[in-house]
Symmetry: C2
Subunit: 140 residues, 2 copies
Protein backbone atom coordinates (compact mmCIF):
# COMPACT_ATOMS: atom_id res chain seq x y z
CA UNK A 1 0.00 0.00 0.00
CA UNK A 2 1.17 3.41 -0.92
CA UNK A 3 1.14 5.75 2.06
CA UNK A 4 2.34 9.21 2.82
CA UNK A 5 3.86 9.93 6.21
CA UNK A 6 2.66 12.75 8.34
CA UNK A 7 3.60 16.29 7.56
CA UNK A 8 4.94 18.72 10.17
CA UNK A 9 2.80 21.73 9.44
CA UNK A 10 0.20 22.14 6.76
CA UNK A 11 -3.08 20.83 5.46
CA UNK A 12 -4.35 17.38 4.60
CA UNK A 13 -7.42 17.20 2.39
CA UNK A 14 -8.77 13.72 3.02
CA UNK A 15 -11.66 11.51 1.86
CA UNK A 16 -11.75 13.06 -1.59
CA UNK A 17 -13.91 10.93 -3.87
CA UNK A 18 -11.53 8.74 -5.93
CA UNK A 19 -10.91 10.47 -9.23
CA UNK A 20 -11.68 13.99 -7.99
CA UNK A 21 -8.30 14.75 -6.37
CA UNK A 22 -6.65 15.88 -9.57
CA UNK A 23 -9.36 18.48 -10.26
CA UNK A 24 -9.11 19.87 -6.73
CA UNK A 25 -5.29 19.83 -6.93
CA UNK A 26 -5.48 22.00 -10.04
CA UNK A 27 -8.29 24.20 -8.70
CA UNK A 28 -6.13 25.05 -5.67
CA UNK A 29 -3.20 25.84 -8.00
CA UNK A 30 -1.03 23.17 -6.37
CA UNK A 31 0.36 22.03 -9.74
CA UNK A 32 2.30 25.31 -9.71
CA UNK A 33 3.21 25.21 -5.99
CA UNK A 34 6.76 26.04 -4.94
CA UNK A 35 6.34 24.23 -1.59
CA UNK A 36 5.99 20.50 -0.91
CA UNK A 37 2.69 18.98 -1.95
CA UNK A 38 1.44 15.48 -2.69
CA UNK A 39 -1.49 14.16 -4.64
CA UNK A 40 -2.46 10.56 -3.92
CA UNK A 41 -5.01 8.88 -6.12
CA UNK A 42 -7.02 5.72 -5.45
CA UNK A 43 -5.69 5.09 -1.97
CA UNK A 44 -7.41 2.36 0.07
CA UNK A 45 -10.00 3.69 2.50
CA UNK A 46 -11.92 1.71 5.10
CA UNK A 47 -14.76 4.19 4.94
CA UNK A 48 -15.24 4.77 1.23
CA UNK A 49 -13.27 1.97 -0.50
CA UNK A 50 -10.99 4.17 -2.58
CA UNK A 51 -10.19 7.82 -2.05
CA UNK A 52 -7.84 10.58 -3.12
CA UNK A 53 -5.76 12.63 -0.67
CA UNK A 54 -3.92 15.92 -1.01
CA UNK A 55 -1.16 16.88 1.43
CA UNK A 56 0.18 20.40 1.57
CA UNK A 57 3.33 21.17 3.57
CA UNK A 58 2.53 24.86 3.92
CA UNK A 59 -0.01 27.23 5.39
CA UNK A 60 -2.29 28.37 2.63
CA UNK A 61 -5.78 29.80 2.48
CA UNK A 62 -8.23 27.33 1.05
CA UNK A 63 -11.58 28.36 -0.38
CA UNK A 64 -13.89 26.04 1.57
CA UNK A 65 -16.95 27.12 -0.43
CA UNK A 66 -15.47 25.94 -3.71
CA UNK A 67 -14.21 22.72 -2.07
CA UNK A 68 -17.63 22.13 -0.51
CA UNK A 69 -19.26 22.42 -3.89
CA UNK A 70 -16.68 20.22 -5.61
CA UNK A 71 -16.94 17.47 -3.00
CA UNK A 72 -18.91 18.07 0.23
CA UNK A 73 -17.74 14.78 1.77
CA UNK A 74 -14.07 15.68 2.09
CA UNK A 75 -12.47 16.41 5.44
CA UNK A 76 -9.73 18.94 6.01
CA UNK A 77 -7.10 18.42 8.68
CA UNK A 78 -4.97 21.33 9.79
CA UNK A 79 -1.60 19.98 10.95
CA UNK A 80 0.80 21.54 13.42
CA UNK A 81 3.85 19.75 14.87
CA UNK A 82 2.81 16.57 13.04
CA UNK A 83 -0.52 16.51 14.90
CA UNK A 84 -4.05 17.33 13.80
CA UNK A 85 -4.81 20.75 15.29
CA UNK A 86 -8.20 21.14 13.67
CA UNK A 87 -10.56 18.94 11.68
CA UNK A 88 -13.00 20.61 9.34
CA UNK A 89 -15.88 18.67 7.79
CA UNK A 90 -17.22 20.26 4.67
CA UNK A 91 -20.80 20.48 3.57
CA UNK A 92 -22.64 22.01 0.67
CA UNK A 93 -22.77 25.78 1.28
CA UNK A 94 -26.26 27.21 1.97
CA UNK A 95 -25.64 29.84 -0.67
CA UNK A 96 -22.95 30.60 -3.21
CA UNK A 97 -22.13 33.77 -5.11
CA UNK A 98 -20.21 34.11 -8.35
CA UNK A 99 -19.66 30.36 -8.74
CA UNK A 100 -22.78 28.99 -10.46
CA UNK A 101 -24.44 30.24 -13.63
CA UNK A 102 -28.19 30.14 -14.24
CA UNK A 103 -29.22 27.54 -16.81
CA UNK A 104 -32.44 29.36 -17.73
CA UNK A 105 -31.78 30.98 -21.14
CA UNK A 106 -34.47 33.62 -20.47
CA UNK A 107 -33.07 34.59 -17.05
CA UNK A 108 -31.90 38.22 -16.84
CA UNK A 109 -28.50 37.03 -15.54
CA UNK A 110 -27.98 35.01 -18.75
CA UNK A 111 -29.21 37.76 -21.10
CA UNK A 112 -27.26 40.57 -19.47
CA UNK A 113 -24.34 38.35 -18.52
CA UNK A 114 -24.53 39.31 -14.84
CA UNK A 115 -21.77 37.88 -12.70
CA UNK A 116 -21.76 37.39 -8.91
CA UNK A 117 -25.30 35.93 -8.95
CA UNK A 118 -26.37 34.34 -5.69
CA UNK A 119 -27.76 30.80 -5.63
CA UNK A 120 -29.60 29.33 -2.65
CA UNK A 121 -29.40 25.63 -1.71
CA UNK A 122 -32.86 24.09 -2.08
CA UNK A 123 -32.14 20.35 -2.10
CA UNK A 124 -29.08 19.02 -0.33
CA UNK A 125 -29.30 15.45 -1.59
CA UNK A 126 -29.83 16.41 -5.19
CA UNK A 127 -27.28 19.25 -4.82
CA UNK A 128 -29.79 21.72 -6.24
CA UNK A 129 -29.51 25.49 -6.02
CA UNK A 130 -31.99 28.13 -7.14
CA UNK A 131 -31.15 31.38 -8.90
CA UNK A 132 -31.89 34.49 -6.85
CA UNK A 133 -33.34 36.24 -9.90
CA UNK A 134 -35.60 33.71 -11.64
CA UNK A 135 -35.83 30.81 -9.13
CA UNK A 136 -34.70 28.32 -11.82
CA UNK A 137 -33.01 25.25 -10.36
CA UNK A 138 -29.40 24.48 -11.18
CA UNK A 139 -27.91 21.21 -10.03
CA UNK A 140 -24.20 20.65 -9.55
Amino acid sequence: MLNVNSIKRGIVIDHIKAGCGYKIFKELGLHKAEYTVALLKNVHSNRIGKKDIIKIENEIDIDLTILGIMDPDITINIIENEKIKEKISLSLPESVKGILKCKNPRCITTIENIEEVEFILTNKEKKEYKCEYCDAITSL
Copy 2:
Protein backbone atom coordinates in the same frame (compact mmCIF):
# COMPACT_ATOMS: atom_id res chain seq x y z
CA MET B 1 9.11 16.30 5.70
CA LEU B 2 6.53 14.77 3.49
CA ASN B 3 7.45 11.23 2.52
CA VAL B 4 5.80 8.37 0.74
CA ASN B 5 6.36 4.85 2.01
CA SER B 6 7.50 2.09 -0.26
CA ILE B 7 5.16 0.45 -2.69
CA LYS B 8 4.83 -3.31 -3.08
CA ARG B 9 4.96 -3.61 -6.83
CA GLY B 10 5.20 -0.86 -9.35
CA ILE B 11 7.34 1.98 -10.59
CA VAL B 12 8.96 4.95 -8.91
CA ILE B 13 10.03 7.80 -11.15
CA ASP B 14 12.61 9.66 -9.10
CA HIS B 15 14.84 12.74 -9.37
CA ILE B 16 12.38 14.58 -11.58
CA LYS B 17 13.40 18.23 -11.82
CA ALA B 18 11.21 20.17 -9.35
CA GLY B 19 8.24 21.55 -11.23
CA CYS B 20 8.31 18.97 -14.03
CA GLY B 21 6.50 16.15 -12.22
CA TYR B 22 3.03 17.41 -13.02
CA LYS B 23 3.73 17.50 -16.77
CA ILE B 24 5.09 13.94 -16.71
CA PHE B 25 2.17 12.80 -14.53
CA LYS B 26 -0.23 14.08 -17.18
CA GLU B 27 1.85 12.85 -20.12
CA LEU B 28 1.70 9.32 -18.68
CA GLY B 29 -2.08 9.66 -18.25
CA LEU B 30 -1.81 9.09 -14.49
CA HIS B 31 -4.38 11.81 -13.75
CA LYS B 32 -6.93 9.36 -15.13
CA ALA B 33 -5.43 6.23 -13.51
CA GLU B 34 -7.73 3.74 -11.80
CA TYR B 35 -4.87 2.29 -9.71
CA THR B 36 -2.93 3.89 -6.87
CA VAL B 37 -0.57 6.66 -7.90
CA ALA B 38 1.14 9.54 -6.13
CA LEU B 39 2.65 12.77 -7.34
CA LEU B 40 5.02 14.50 -4.93
CA LYS B 41 6.22 17.96 -5.73
CA ASN B 42 9.20 19.85 -4.28
CA VAL B 43 10.44 17.06 -2.06
CA HIS B 44 13.84 17.57 -0.39
CA SER B 45 16.69 15.87 -2.24
CA ASN B 46 20.31 15.64 -1.09
CA ARG B 47 21.45 15.41 -4.69
CA ILE B 48 19.45 18.10 -6.45
CA GLY B 49 17.99 20.24 -3.65
CA LYS B 50 14.33 19.87 -4.58
CA LYS B 51 12.77 17.22 -6.78
CA ASP B 52 9.47 15.74 -7.85
CA ILE B 53 8.62 12.04 -7.54
CA ILE B 54 5.93 9.88 -9.10
CA LYS B 55 4.94 6.54 -7.57
CA ILE B 56 2.83 4.07 -9.46
CA GLU B 57 1.37 1.02 -7.70
CA ASN B 58 0.91 -0.96 -10.89
CA GLU B 59 2.83 -2.49 -13.77
CA ILE B 60 2.52 -0.18 -16.72
CA ASP B 61 4.51 0.39 -19.87
CA ILE B 62 6.36 3.66 -19.79
CA ASP B 63 7.67 5.37 -22.90
CA LEU B 64 11.31 5.91 -21.90
CA THR B 65 12.04 7.94 -25.04
CA ILE B 66 9.47 10.58 -24.21
CA LEU B 67 10.56 10.61 -20.55
CA GLY B 68 14.23 10.91 -21.63
CA ILE B 69 13.37 13.91 -23.75
CA MET B 70 11.23 15.53 -21.05
CA ASP B 71 13.88 15.10 -18.35
CA PRO B 72 17.00 12.98 -19.04
CA ASP B 73 18.15 13.17 -15.41
CA ILE B 74 15.31 11.16 -13.91
CA THR B 75 15.80 7.63 -12.61
CA ILE B 76 13.23 4.89 -12.81
CA ASN B 77 13.00 2.19 -10.17
CA ILE B 78 11.07 -0.97 -10.86
CA ILE B 79 9.71 -2.28 -7.58
CA GLU B 80 8.84 -5.86 -6.72
CA ASN B 81 8.03 -7.09 -3.19
CA GLU B 82 8.83 -3.62 -1.83
CA LYS B 83 12.39 -3.85 -3.19
CA ILE B 84 14.09 -2.22 -6.15
CA LYS B 85 14.34 -4.92 -8.79
CA GLU B 86 15.78 -2.71 -11.51
CA LYS B 87 17.12 0.81 -11.72
CA ILE B 88 16.99 2.58 -15.05
CA SER B 89 18.90 5.80 -15.64
CA LEU B 90 17.55 7.81 -18.49
CA SER B 91 19.50 9.80 -21.02
CA LEU B 92 18.66 11.82 -24.07
CA PRO B 93 17.84 9.35 -26.84
CA GLU B 94 20.34 9.25 -29.74
CA SER B 95 17.48 9.63 -32.16
CA VAL B 96 13.74 10.24 -31.94
CA LYS B 97 10.99 9.69 -34.45
CA GLY B 98 7.57 11.31 -34.54
CA ILE B 99 8.19 13.45 -31.47
CA LEU B 100 9.99 16.59 -32.70
CA LYS B 101 8.98 18.91 -35.50
CA CYS B 102 11.45 20.72 -37.74
CA LYS B 103 11.62 24.46 -37.09
CA ASN B 104 12.88 25.30 -40.57
CA PRO B 105 9.88 26.80 -42.42
CA ARG B 106 11.38 25.77 -45.79
CA CYS B 107 11.97 22.13 -44.77
CA ILE B 108 10.02 19.59 -46.82
CA THR B 109 8.63 18.08 -43.61
CA THR B 110 7.07 21.45 -42.69
CA ILE B 111 5.73 22.17 -46.18
CA GLU B 112 4.29 18.73 -46.78
CA ASN B 113 3.36 18.20 -43.12
CA ILE B 114 5.32 14.94 -42.90
CA GLU B 115 4.95 13.11 -39.59
CA GLU B 116 7.30 10.48 -38.13
CA VAL B 117 10.39 12.54 -39.02
CA GLU B 118 13.62 11.29 -37.48
CA PHE B 119 15.87 13.64 -35.53
CA ILE B 120 19.47 12.79 -34.58
CA LEU B 121 21.08 14.02 -31.35
CA THR B 122 23.97 16.34 -32.24
CA ASN B 123 24.69 18.15 -28.97
CA LYS B 124 23.87 16.44 -25.68
CA GLU B 125 24.51 19.43 -23.42
CA LYS B 126 22.51 21.86 -25.50
CA LYS B 127 19.88 19.14 -26.16
CA GLU B 128 20.08 19.76 -29.89
CA TYR B 129 18.74 17.44 -32.56
CA LYS B 130 19.05 17.72 -36.34
CA CYS B 131 16.33 17.01 -38.85
CA GLU B 132 17.02 13.98 -41.07
CA TYR B 133 15.76 15.88 -44.13
CA CYS B 134 17.30 19.35 -43.97
CA ASP B 135 19.87 19.11 -41.13
CA ALA B 136 18.31 22.12 -39.37
CA ILE B 137 18.93 22.10 -35.62
CA THR B 138 16.02 21.87 -33.19
CA SER B 139 16.67 22.27 -29.47
CA LEU B 140 14.37 20.90 -26.82
